[in-house]
Symmetry: C2
Subunit: 196 residues, 2 copies
């Protein structure tokens, strides 16, 4: 620390664009007007408040899911594992107006008991969310929702109650190269390793 820097830095400007690492792969579950369960994939989002626990997800107004959330004021976020990242990609490729994505994939729509929305039974982890705020930001509407519960497959939890990431294997999205990546190895404990 404090040693003389021998490297020089030369940053290239990429312009005003939506690029950070990591971005998540959120599979957003909603019911349509006809009660049909639907899922779409979104990478613009993240936790946005600790108390009350809230998560944000941004969607274009043109999407089926957008109108479903406006109507039902609820959604779920299922977290896909490596095993299911191809399904998650499919969920982002086609509209629920055109296709029954659960029927096509053979995955199961489970009805949330807490919120008026379905989730993907086969995915290891789900957040059940009630709409709190709707912010119009431009092309995207940001939906901020209360996290009513987080549910995780029992087999994916460690003895200390935390999620075993090496078992859940959540996937990551890289916006510029439009690539999915795995979650990598453990590096260190937060609020600890940086003590100086």
């Amino acid at each position: 620390m404090g040693a003389i820097q021998l490297r020089s830095f030369m940053k290239k400007s990429l312009g005003a664009k939506t690029l950070v690492f990591p971005t998540p792969v959120f599979v957003v579950g909603t019911y349509g007007k006809d009660g049909k369960p639907n899922v779409m994939t979104a990478s613009w989002g993240g936790i946005c408040c600790s108390q009350p626990p809230c998560v944000a997800v941004s969607l274009r107004k043109a999407t089926y899911t957008h109108s479903n959330i406006v109507e039902r004021r609820a959604f779920t976020i299922s977290i896909p594992s490596e095993e299911h990242f191809k399904h998650a990609d499919y969920f982002g490729l086609v509209s629920g107006r055109a296709e029954d994505k659960f029927a096509t994939t053979g995955l199961t729509a489970a009805r949330s008991e807490l919120v008026d929305a379905p989730y993907v039974s086969e995915f290891g982890m789900v957040l059940e969310c009630k709409l709190a705020h709707t912010f119009e930001l431009g092309l995207h509407t940001q939906f901020v929702a209360y996290i009513m519960d987080v549910k995780v497959e029992s087999g994916l939890l460690k003895a200390d109650g935390n999620v075993d990431i090496s078992q859940l294997k959540p996937v990551i999205f890289a916006p510029d190269s439009q690539a999915y990546h795995a979650t990598g190895s453990f590096l260190g404990k937060a609020f600890s390793i940086g003590k100086m």
Copy 2:
């Protein structure tokens, strides 16, 4: 696809909590009232609009960075590589009111030419952001900002202009176990691999 599911699913309720995977490690750079550069680490945030390109970051009102953003209406987000995750952790452990975090780490505060905020010169990637909206959500204030530019070290870009993730090595935060993880291997191309 469509095969009979032979596994059964049993999800355990973890309660209303702030838990998704992945969450980012954003190193937020601001100037204090006295012009002193400061950085803090935040994991509540993400891209929130494509047009105009916007990013959100949520901070507690008690933080030094919160008051700096309210005052200057600008911040940067530096993305730490594996090489620097211990620095990122340190930035989240102490307040800029108490310590000069650049002096302690020996890292360099570079002045953004686009926004009134500093960034960490040694980190491979930075977003320069102008405040657009301030949303009070509870314990956290969500700052939504226009991304004015994204700058990346030339050596971290591939021939196609995209970031080489295997070189940038961005880190990920797991909220429940409070652990840092590496970005893992390439799994597949989005908007492609899921075609059915």
